[in-house]
């Protein structure tokens, strides 16, 4: 390896390394402001100047931007270098306000720390400091331009990493400032990362502002509960202390000061890199929602009565045994929401499948076509993605199909931006597309609203034609017909079907779409990345919360009922007991009326949930569950990575971990010993679930990056985490399709169910999200709105002339005939108008005039 001289010692370097990288690697401290290891080099702050001598020429050069060359002589601690650092600090402090005592970053501030170590003690500046106005850029962000040292880190992140453009630098010289373009709210789902890359407290977050001092926190390693990417996070919770207002009683009941102060990212280069999305960062106060269920309750004479845990366990166990005795185990069913830990899912499946003996267990949405089984298993022999998240970086050709990534799995968007920037072709096919997709897609094609299946089948058909493979069931329909129904051009689709393609899609898409894309990937030697819509969807499949699979790669001997089947059977009176774990079918599923009818037809309903909801009213027993921040447990993300989340705050009220409740019922019915430690459950999972057999406890491993201690803004990326993945066996199978061209809706307004980043069962339980939650909102194309003469509010009329009052927001990305409604339906009951596939038909009769 080539060598150079650093501070008098001969040192080896890798070609291309900068002076700063080598120095930090060897523990030589060089102070920085604008340099950030995960952002493009800016070289503006001049804090990292070092003395460089090469071929007889000597001078100060920025070490962050200077690549080491053979024969260089570098000194990082000469008088001149020290004086230069002092000068830069003096310059930066000229106009910096003395707000340190009330600044959020106090104690975590690079300017504070470096001034302490290297800076001048006094100011020689006798003139007035300039004052710039406070900027509210986002409901979650506040910018203090006076504090800003214009290091450009936030702009680098915002423009280069998230490929967004409404935040930047303005003006020049001493009039320069960062901020949003115009006074618009930032159109970004990643804006919170700017708080973390800011070396001081110029950008502050709403949840944390003026709340605490950094030394009051205790930090817990957790996993984002919001989506199935499983972003690694640090949860900062208040702990007791002399000057603290809060306190924690271990194991006891939570006091009113027990709060999560903020959520920051934890670097994991397999999953989230050093970034997280705003929903993960800012939405956490739902843990203290007034809608939390606090006590176990049994309904007696139409009213809920608070009972102790032992009583509710014995009551439920007895009731279940009784129903099984009387009607057979098939009369019992369970639906889950896919939000709990693996441990809880494991015991949920164990309770229903092993103890009670029913296979009527599912966590998926009630699509009718899911009755057929598991689409991925049918093609691949296992129900898991064949790609890892980071395969996005390796793929040359990426096809994102049908998923609004920004709304459901925002972090995938960041990875796609990086992939596109390093040369991959990224295609997006969707019902419609927005600015979010334009940030990462090289090409966007919109298929017809109801042409989803045909679009996927045409991809498969083209793949089949390229490989000269006949696909059973698709030979009767021509490619031209499929493309016409999908509304796509042949040459465009032919272009994106390439060898080694990576297909990205979500698991709420029609059965045939998932099957077709999986099959196309096997034909093309490509991979699939399935984005589970349930936050722990992959974990729930692996634990066997499925009517067809006993784990991610093994089929059940006999098939149980899917969610759709359970609801249908319930309406027919065949289901006598229904366990609802973390799900409210009434507000989370389409076809509200049918779901409601099903719920009403069941004799005995047990609800396990954290929040009061509509279905709790129909429950016979309600049991309060802890949330992910209140329990230890493992979660499997969408790529099969098994990650551990730590308990950060004490439980709320009498809530209990779901696995503990299920295990108690199992114990009560079978007489087996109860399990008391979550790690024992994890052990059971590792021993019994096939793809998890190679996992070892603890799941987490870490390594340290050599970043200097005196730069607090790099502390969060100092320790990098790693988690193992489950290993699934692939057994590709023969595939056939039963495709028939059906009747398509062609006129009137189509109601389409979709997702919104800030409308979830969690965001609806906290005031924090309020400014961004689309409450009672439907979206329509502005042209349609004008055509119908709608002003803000309108009334939607269903097929039976039922009326729904809604707010109408314009969205110019939508096709004209579409009314977009948002899951979940806690605020309006528009899901009455939707069929099981999430489509509906409405009229807009009149505009509401004020």
């Amino acid at each position: 390896m080539p060598k150079f001289i650093l501070n008098g010692k001969e040192v080896e370097f890798k070609p291309g390394e900068t002076i700063l990288q080598v120095a930090w690697r060897l523990g030589v401290k060089i102070p920085v402001f604008c340099y950030h290891p995960h952002l493009p080099v800016y070289a503006g702050c001049r804090m990292c100047l070092v003395e460089v001598e090469l071929r007889g020429r000597k001078g100060l050069l920025p070490s962050c931007a200077t690549q080491v060359a053979e024969g260089m002589v570098v000194n990082t601690e000469t008088d001149e270098v020290r004086q230069a650092r002092k000068s830069q600090l003096e310059f930066l402090l000229l106009n910096h306000p003395l707000e340190c005592p009330t600044c959020d970053a106090g104690g975590e501030c690079d300017l504070q720390n470096l001034t302490f170590f290297l800076g001048p003690a006094e100011s020689r500046y006798t003139f007035k400091k300039h004052e710039k106005e406070l900027v509210e850029a986002h409901p979650y962000l506040k910018l203090y331009p006076n504090r800003c040292i214009l290091c450009n880190r936030c702009v680098s992140f915002y423009q280069e990493i998230s490929a967004n453009d409404d935040w930047g630098m303005f003006g020049r010289g001493h009039n320069m400032r960062v901020g949003p373009y115009r006074d618009k709210i930032l159109d970004s789902e990643f804006s919170g990362n700017m708080i973390e890359v800011c070396p001081l407290g110029a950008i502050t977050g709403r949840d944390y502002r003026f709340k605490s001092r950094p030394w009051e926190h205790k930090v817990f390693n957790s996993i984002s509960p919001h989506d199935s990417i499983g972003a690694n996070i640090k949860v900062y919770a208040r702990v007791g202390g002399k000057y603290s207002r809060g306190y924690i009683i271990e194991g006891g009941v939570r006091g009113e000061n027990h709060e999560i102060l903020r959520v920051n990212m934890r670097p994991n280069y397999d999953v989230n890199d050093p970034w997280i999305d705003d929903r993960t960062r800012f939405i956490h106060s739902y843990v203290n929602s007034s809608e939390r269920i606090t006590e176990p309750l049994i309904k007696r004479e139409g009213e809920f009565k608070e009972v102790v845990w032992d009583e509710v366990i014995s009551h439920v166990s007895g009731k279940l045994a009784e129903i099984k005795e009387k009607y057979g185990s098939e009369a019992i069913a369970g639906i889950a929401g896919g939000r709990g830990s693996n441990e809880s899912a494991f015991f949920f499946a164990k309770l229903l499948k092993d103890t009670i003996g029913t296979k009527n267990v599912d966590f998926r949405i009630p699509r009718r076509d899911f009755e057929q089984g598991d689409p991925l298993y049918e093609v691949l022999g296992s129900s898991a993605s064949t790609a890892k998240l980071n395969d996005i970086y390796n793929a040359k050709n990426i096809v994102v199909f049908g998923t609004e990534i920004k709304e459901t799995h925002p972090l995938v968007g960041l990875k796609l931006v990086k992939a596109r920037k390093s040369g991959a072709r990224v295609y997006y096919l969707g019902k419609w597309s927005s600015k979010a997709e334009r940030r990462w897609a090289s090409r966007i094609y919109n298929y017809n609203i109801n042409g989803e299946v045909e679009a996927a089948l045409s991809i498969l058909k083209i793949a089949g034609l390229k490989k000269e493979i006949q696909i059973e069931g698709l030979d009767k329909v021509s490619l031209e017909t499929l493309l016409e129904l999908a509304g796509l051009e042949k040459e465009y689709i032919e272009e994106l079907v390439k060898e080694g393609s990576l297909f990205i899609f979500d698991d709420n898409l029609p059965y045939d779409v998932q099957k077709a894309l999986s099959y196309a990937s096997t034909l093309l030697d490509g991979k699939i990345l399935v984005l589970r819509n349930a936050p722990n969807g992959q974990g729930f499949i692996d634990m066997g919360v499925s009517p067809v699979l006993s784990n991610g790669q093994s089929l059940e001997a006999e098939k149980g009922l899917s969610t759709y089947g359970i609801l249908k059977a319930a309406r027919e009176g065949k289901i006598k007991a229904l366990l609802l774990y973390n799900i409210d079918p009434i507000v989370e599923f389409p076809a509200r009326d049918e779901v409601l009818e099903a719920i009403k037809s069941v004799d005995f309903i047990v609800v396990f949930d954290s929040f009061w909801s509509e279905v709790t009213g129909y429950a016979d027993v309600v049991m309060p569950l802890t949330l992910s921040f209140e329990e230890d447990g493992s979660y499997t993300n969408t790529e099969g990575r098994v990650q551990w989340a730590e308990k950060a705050i004490p439980v709320y009220g009498m809530a209990r971990e779901a696995w503990r409740i299920f295990a108690s019922i199992v114990g009560y019915i079978t007489g087996e010993n109860r399990v008391n430690d979550v790690k024992d459950v994890t052990e059971m999972i590792i021993n019994s679930i096939e793809p998890y057999k190679k996992l070892k406890f603890p799941l987490e491993s870490k390594f340290k990056e050599p970043y200097p201690d005196n730069i607090p803004s790099l502390h969060n990326i100092k320790t990098v985490y790693k988690y193992p993945t489950a290993e699934y066996k692939l057994r590709p199978r023969e595939v056939s399709f039963k495709y028939e061209t059906g009747e398509k809706i062609t006129d009137g307004y189509v109601l389409v169910m979709s997702y919104h980043l800030y409308k979830t069962v969690y965001t609806l339980r906290t005031e924090d999200a309020a400014p961004l939650v689309p409450l009672k909102v439907v979206e329509m194309n502005p042209l349609t709105i004008r055509q119908e003469g709608i002003e803000d509010e309108a009334i939607l009329i269903g097929p039976r002339n039922e009326e729904y009052e809604v707010k109408v927001m314009p969205n110019r990305n939508l096709p004209k005939g579409v009314v977009r409604v948002f899951y979940p339906f806690l605020d309006y009951d528009l899901n009455s108008l939707l069929d099981y596939n999430g489509f509906g038909h409405v009229r807009i009769a009149q505009a509401v005039r004020r």
Binding site: R46, N95, F127, G173, H174
Partner: protein
């Protein structure tokens, strides 16, 4: 008065000097025809190299050498960019070419493009030259009609297009990398170097950025050969140079003078006719505001790159500013510092924070409120800026202020508050 043969300025004063007709009558586009028919691209580079032509924008880097840095085996497109963002205070020489002889520049760009294998040329023109824009666009249109621009020009198989891009008025965009950023539609911030524009320029593709005057020299070198060219100027600074002379002189204007042929003193007193009545020489800035000032007893020096550099200043853009004694050195320094504070792009700390500080201290001294301490602080701040900035702008600001403050210390001391004896 001394008179020299006019090379670049040969058409000045002729009717419609900016038209293709006039330009061709004087021998215009002959060089292009000759190059396309007889020289290979490498030979053109070799001609320019051996002519010794140095960049006329200020740095004086050998042009042929710059061109030879452009990689030959690349599949990326290459670009030629003419830097017509003439923003250096006291400099207005390119304006004459742009407004009066635009075809000379266009021919130069085409030759440069042919030499490096570029098929697109850009003229980055400062917004303050609307007449130049009009004449350039006309000239481009004329050249296209005459077959000098477009596909397969003069049946040589070579394609070239030239576009005019109007800057937004920032001084820093005269710096070549900031110019490229601006040309790409970004903020005019300088880029870090290396990589240099020759390999990673416009859109990260190989790019040659040359000053207008530099490119305008190329047709003559190609047409008459390096030996002819070297008869003008000195061994190390061949050719003629345009000097834009301003200040309290009798005949301000643009003069074309072979490098080193006369002294700066002769330029001021003979060519420009000396100072106006009632004005006394204070000093001469030889190459635009960024060049350190020379005192009256330092100006007996030949006008070429080396001689002036030996005096601790630089020939720069050839913007000769003659200062007279109507103002004090503090005022001159303050005025210059204000310019830099206004034009600092804000990217790096020392320039962004330091230049306004210099202005504030200078204003304090100018108003008679300053003390010995302020004078020392001024020099301290100069030291804190110098050699630490991202691009030469901050350096220039520091050097200019330091120069006035040290060379004319008595002017400063006269304004400082004396400590009161107790």
């Amino acid at each position: 008065m001394v008179e020299f043969e006019r090379i670049l300025l040969r058409d000045i004063g002729k009717p419609n000097s900016w038209s293709l007709q006039t330009y061709e009558k004087g021998g215009g586009y002959k060089a292009l025809k000759k190059a396309l028919s007889t020289y290979s691209p490498d030979e053109v580079i070799e001609l320019v190299k051996s002519s010794g032509l140095r960049g006329r924008g200020g740095a004086g880097f050998p042009t042929g050498v710059k061109w030879s840095f452009v990689p030959k085996d690349t599949d990326k497109p290459k670009y030629v960019v003419a830097n017509a963002d003439e923003g250096e205070p006291g400099t207005f020489k390119d304006r004459v070419i742009l407004e009066e002889e635009p075809h000379m520049l266009i021919e130069g760009i085409i030759l440069a493009a042919y030499a490096i294998g570029a098929h697109e040329g850009y003229i980055y023109l400062r917004k303050e030259y609307p007449l130049a824009r009009e004449r350039l666009l006309n000239a481009i249109e004329e050249a296209r009609k005459a077959g000098f621009l477009g596909k397969n020009i003069l049946n040589s198989g070579f394609d070239i297009e030239i576009y005019v891009y109007i800057g937004a008025g920032a001084y820093i965009c005269g710096e070549e990398t900031a110019l490229l950023e601006s040309l790409e539609g970004r903020r005019g911030h300088p880029r870090k170097r290396p990589p240099f524009p020759a390999t990673h320029g416009l859109y990260s593709c190989p790019t040659v950025v040359n000053n207008v005057e530099t490119l305008s020299n190329v047709p003559f070198i190609v047409l008459h050969g390096p030996t002819w060219y070297r008869q003008f100027g000195t061994e190390k600074s061949p050719g003629t140079k345009l000097f834009s002379c301003s200040g309290a002189i009798k005949r301000p204007g643009v003069y074309e003078i072979p490098l080193g042929a006369i002294t700066l003193k002769q330029l001021v007193f003979d060519v420009c006719g000396g100072l106006k009545e009632g004005h006394e020489l204070f000093g001469v800035i030889p190459g635009g505001v960024s060049a350190p000032v020379l005192t009256p007893d330092e100006i007996d020096v030949p006008v070429d790159y080396e001689s002036i550099a030996a005096k601790g200043s630089m020939l720069g853009s050839g913007g000769v500013i003659v200062l007279d004694k109507s103002f004090s050195a503090v005022t001159y320094a303050r005025r210059a510092a204000e310019f830099y504070a206004e034009e600092s792009c804000g990217k790096c700390t020392p320039c962004r924070e330091g230049t306004p500080w210099l202005v504030k201290i200078l204003k304090k001294i100018e108003s008679g409120e300053g003390t010995e301490e302020d004078y020392n602080l001024l020099l301290d701040v100069v030291k804190a800026i110098r050699g630490k900035t991202f691009c030469p702008l901050g350096d220039s600001a520091a050097c200019v202020v330091e120069n006035f403050a040290t060379k004319y210390k008595e002017d400063f001391e006269a304004l400082l508050k004396k400590p009161v004896a107790v």
